[in-house]
């Protein structure tokens, strides 16, 4: 039997979520989730954030509404999600089938010295998401549950939310391009074709 208190490793989680990613569209929240997504492999269909804290989930919503036939996954941190937790209400009302929000919850503000976030005191983001009306909301503690979440995200059967309990480990930074124009242009060119280069 596995230790129920063992925490998942963030890069194992992200590698599994993005396994055989196909044409999955990925928004990565600023800080460690950005480095985790980049460690899984830089890709034109990634939009990794270097700032805009609190905005990752709503970027995912706008993208999911604009591209209803594609699957969108937002991979972000607990600090980033908590900064704009009201977005969960806005997203629940729209309920796009093709949007999954995966929060890597290490209960820490990792970029600023590992100060505790409110989730360390028991704030339950999955319950907040459920209360907002995102029915497929869960706390994830095992790799089997990560695989289940991966399949949900790739199939797009409804808005999904997961608070994934991970180890508060500090890992080496793996950085994508930092220039927002490069990130924007290559994403749009990949998703929309060369037409995106014109107005």
């Amino acid at each position: 039997m596995t230790n129920p208190n063992a925490l998942l490793h963030r890069r194992d989680v992200v590698n599994e979520l993005l396994r055989d990613r196909g044409d999955l569209l990925v928004i990565a929240g600023l800080g460690a989730p950005n480095w985790d997504v980049s460690a899984a492999g830089d890709h034109p269909n990634n939009f990794p954030l270097w700032g805009a804290m609190g905005g990752a989930s709503m970027i995912g919503l706008g993208l999911a509404l604009a591209q209803p036939k594609r699957k969108v996954i937002v991979i972000t941190g607990d600090g980033e999600m908590l900064m704009n937790v009201g977005s969960l209400a806005s997203i629940a009302v729209e309920a796009p089938k093709n949007l999954t929000i995966a929060v890597l919850d290490n209960e820490r503000f990792g970029e600023t010295g590992m100060q505790k976030t409110p989730t360390a005191s028991g704030v339950d983001l999955a319950a907040i998401a459920t209360a907002c009306g995102i029915r497929s909301s869960r706390i994830v503690r095992t790799m089997a549950e990560v695989t289940e979440l991966r399949d949900l995200a790739h199939e797009g059967r409804g808005t999904a939310f997961a608070q994934i309990k991970i180890n508060p480990e500090a890992l080496v930074f793996v950085m994508p391009p930092a220039d927002g124009v490069i990130l924007t242009t290559r994403f749009r060119q990949s998703v929309l074709g060369d037409e995106a280069l014109f107005n």
């Binding site: 805009a52 905005g55 706008g62 806005s90 927002g180 998703v191």
Partner: protein, 188 residues
């Protein structure tokens, strides 16, 4: 009293046409996503968008969500507009770094408070700070104070935003909205 009432009614005609005019301008500009924090000045425009099947009206809990959402819309190939009032501009400031640094279009239409004829002193700081705050973040700002100029201001802003990939805000002055309405509301 009668004269005062007359001058107020001239400042705010009973049936302004500018909300219908900017609805047509925004439809012509290809707007598909409408991000809103409801506001009395925008109520007629919001109803027009809600009645149309081609646009998605998304109600936000705070205006900065709309800046992020419309960045996502642009990444996915759709155009949007953010409808807000001046106090909501204060909620957007850091998120504006996203369209600025990524050279993304952002069209904001801001109904002003704390401006001409304001009755509520608490609206003054953000109302007076709206333009300098937006400009400090690199947003191009155009303010209109006459109803017949609103539609062309929005049209020009939409072209500027979507053709040059810049964040652009149109501020609709309280003179256009009619400050008398707020005073009457307060007395009821």
């Amino acid at each position: 009293m009668a004269e005062a009432a007359k001058s107020r009614s001239e400042a705010a005609p009973a049936l302004p046409t500018w909300p219908d005019e900017i609805y047509r301008v925004l439809k012509d500009a290809g707007i598909r996503q409408v991000a809103i924090v409801p506001d009395a000045g925008h109520s007629r425009l919001i109803r027009s968008f809600e009645a149309g099947p081609e646009t998605r009206v998304v109600t936000l809990t705070t205006e900065e969500e709309g800046v992020a959402m419309l960045a996502g819309a642009w990444l996915g190939g759709e155009r949007g507009v953010l409808l807000l009032q001046s106090s909501g501009v204060g909620n957007c400031i850091n998120m504006l770094s996203l369209p600025v640094i990524c050279h993304m279009p952002l069209l904001m239409i801001v109904t002003m408070r704390g401006d001409w004829g304001e009755f509520n002193p608490w609206q003054i700081p953000m109302g007076q700070g709206t333009r300098p705050s937006l400009e400090a973040m690199g947003v191009i700002v155009n303010k209109v104070d006459e109803p017949h100029l609103v539609a062309s201001a929005v049209q020009g802003a939409a072209h500027l935003a979507f053709n040059s990939w810049k964040p652009v805000a149109v501020l609709i002055g309280q003179r256009v909205l009619g400050a008398k309405n707020f005073k009457e509301l307060a007395s009821k």
